[in-house]
Amino acid sequence: MIRLLLRDLTLALRAGGGFGLGLGFFLILVTLVPFGVGPNSERLAAIAPGILWVGALLACLLSLDRIFALDYEDGSLDLLATAPVPLEGLVAMKALAHWITTGLPLVIAAPFLGVLLHLDTDAYRWLIITLLIGTPALSIIGAFGAAITVGLKRGGLLMSLLVLPLYIPTLIFGAEVVRRGARGFEVTTPLLMQAGITAGAIAMLPFAAAAAIRIALR
């Protein structure tokens, strides 16, 4: 399992393109928003939590099809499926690798981009905390979406249609925590709900994703 994780990380680092692509997209998105809504700092501050969360969501989505598609094309997914590691474990490791290469950089970059959007000072820690809690859910849900579309010719666009609705609960609670944090309100409930969604997704979706891969490889 650790080997698998290291393999995926190395591939992501050396193959180029995947790593940092999501981050660049995130940066561009955040740069574009002020052009769209105007440079008024109060207005930017008001929408900053939502923009940062939606940006993180889309950046995550961008790199999802790499999770299984490359391995499926060159046949290594077949080998991995017959390996003594359970497929569920493979999915979990793939999702973890995706999180390390996409989710974690987003968490680190988000506060800096928050400065660009005049995010309230109080909201920074909540932004980091919710992204830390929420992005693993994005990765594992995305792994499920990638698994279900792995055998398809043009799966990318379809996958976004399938995955984005599944991201809604995480987005709602994540942005809600940041918004409340910015105004200094109580944040415990949405934070716990978000953590619950992440925990539930990690517990259940590897099984669903593994089932989908077994079907695709049949």
Binding site: F144, I148, T149, G151, L152, R154, G155, L158, L161, L162, L164, P165, L166, I168, P169, I172, F173, E176, T189, P190, M193, I197, M204, L205, A208, A211, A212, I215, A216, R218
Partner: protein, 244 residues
Amino acid sequence: MASIWEWANPRKFMAWTDKALPVIAVAAAVLFVAGLVWGFFFVPDDYRQGATVKIFYIHVPSAMIAINAWLMMLVASLIWLVRRHHVSVLAAKAAAPIGLVMTLIALASGAIWGKPMWGTYWEWDPRLTSFLILFLFYAGYLALWEAIEDPDTAADLTSVLCLVGSVFAVLSRYAVNFWNQGLHQGASLSLDKQENVADVFWYPALVSLAGFVLLFIALVLLRTRTEVRARRLHAIEMRERVQG
């Protein structure tokens, strides 16, 4: 009709629906028309909402069908995954577009009612938002069916998607509750009649609801029969290609 599992046999399903479908369809048409005519012409205007209240006879039944169609798809998908009955998954496939259209009808009729009553076509109210999300789920489910060529693979993957989607649809429903306060009224047709509508509105609503349910059943059966026939045609073509 010994048990519902008899229907797992496509031939028995076809034979039974061949007889039942006309009956159900006629009953659906009669109740549907009766409910709507009763609702539109023989029910007094509401003292505050005027004639707009009558859109209720389309709005509420279509919304209920929209939700319950997904539930039916969930059950049918589970039956397919557990017992591998083709008719079951074909019924799920047949129900999806109907659910999609019902969701659209509920959204559109709600918007038409909302403009004079709430002063807006659309409001990010929890119920409205979750219906929009439901619409997206239907769209994703249908798109996945369309995208996969092999029918059994498509059936399996869409069933898995339906199961996972159900969990997230429920999650979204409660998440949006949390996210915004509601403008939409609560349940108006619940069985404990504390806060329900008056009888004069209630009976045509029941008729209309029955009409919609039967319409849904008739459409699902019809579409499932079409799917079964399409499968048979496909099988015949394959056989001919092998022989010729």
